[in-house]
């Protein structure tokens, strides 16, 4: 059971896209998988100690709006729209008993999901190690492949 391995690459840093890697990693860990997530580019936002992720309807025509109203693209770009939609999404999630991101991430850490921050993008965005989770490790593509090469499942998100 515990010899199965899951490797995930997380590349997105929006509120909605932070969920899939954390949900799958925490669940896999509960099922006995040894799990590793490699965070690169915008995915690094998920490792920030101070999690403050947003979601926007701009450029996302698939995002359902309350009452199925359609918001013209130009309106979606209005100041405050992103904050509004983000708070709507958060309260909707809370109402449905969906885990808070920080809680889900803590569950991953507790379940010994190994979190690796891509050193190259950490340098690119000039993030300080003190801004990211203390438990995360740092590495590059070769580090990812060391684990991914022997994994049963590899996911890119």
């Amino acid at each position: 059971m515990s010899d199965k391995k899951l490797a995930i690459i997380a590349t997105k840093g929006t509120l909605d896209w932070a969920y899939p890697p954390l949900i799958l990693a925490s669940t896999a860990a509960a099922l006995g998988y040894e799990t590793q997530i490699f965070f690169t580019f915008y995915g690094l936002q998920i490792l920030k100690k101070n999690l403050n992720l947003k979601v926007t309807p701009l450029g996302n025509p698939g995002m359902p709006m309350p009452g199925n109203i359609s918001i013209p693209v130009l309106m979606q770009a209005m100041p405050g729209m992103q904050a509004l939609v983000t708070s709507m999404m958060k309260s909707k999630m809370q109402g449905k008993g969906i885990a808070d991101l920080a809680e889900l991430r803590a569950l991953c850490v507790e379940a010994e999901v190994k979190m690796i921050a891509c050193q190259m993008t950490v340098d690119l965005f000039e993030f300080k190690r003190s801004e990211l989770l203390d438990s995360c490790e740092y590495g590059g593509a070769a580090t990812f492949f060391e684990f991914a090469g022997e994994s049963d499942i590899n996911l890119f998100m």
Partner: protein, 76 residues
């Protein structure tokens, strides 16, 4: 429903929290002990089946009571 040793009320929680809480509840239990789980997440019916299949724990019972779901899991 049969006897159980521990109970977990996962009402109101959504995927994957019922599974994660169940895993946590099972951890300190002894082999052969039974965990009773209450959930309101319709997805948990299939998920607990899959959880048991993959972890080797035995799903003794799964009951749908119109919006509430009850599971009995025997720790392997």
């Amino acid at each position: 429903m049969a006897d159980f040793d521990q109970e977990l009320d996962a009402s109101g929680l959504n995927c994957p929290l019922p599974i994660l809480r169940a895993k946590k509840s099972l951890a300190p239990m002894d082999a052969g002990q039974v965990l009773h789980i209450i959930s309101t997440d319709p997805g948990s019916v299939k998920d607990f089946e899959a959880f048991c299949k993959q972890t080797g724990n035995e799903l003794l019972d799964s009951k749908d009571d119109g919006g509430k779901f009850y599971f009995l899991i025997k720790k392997s």
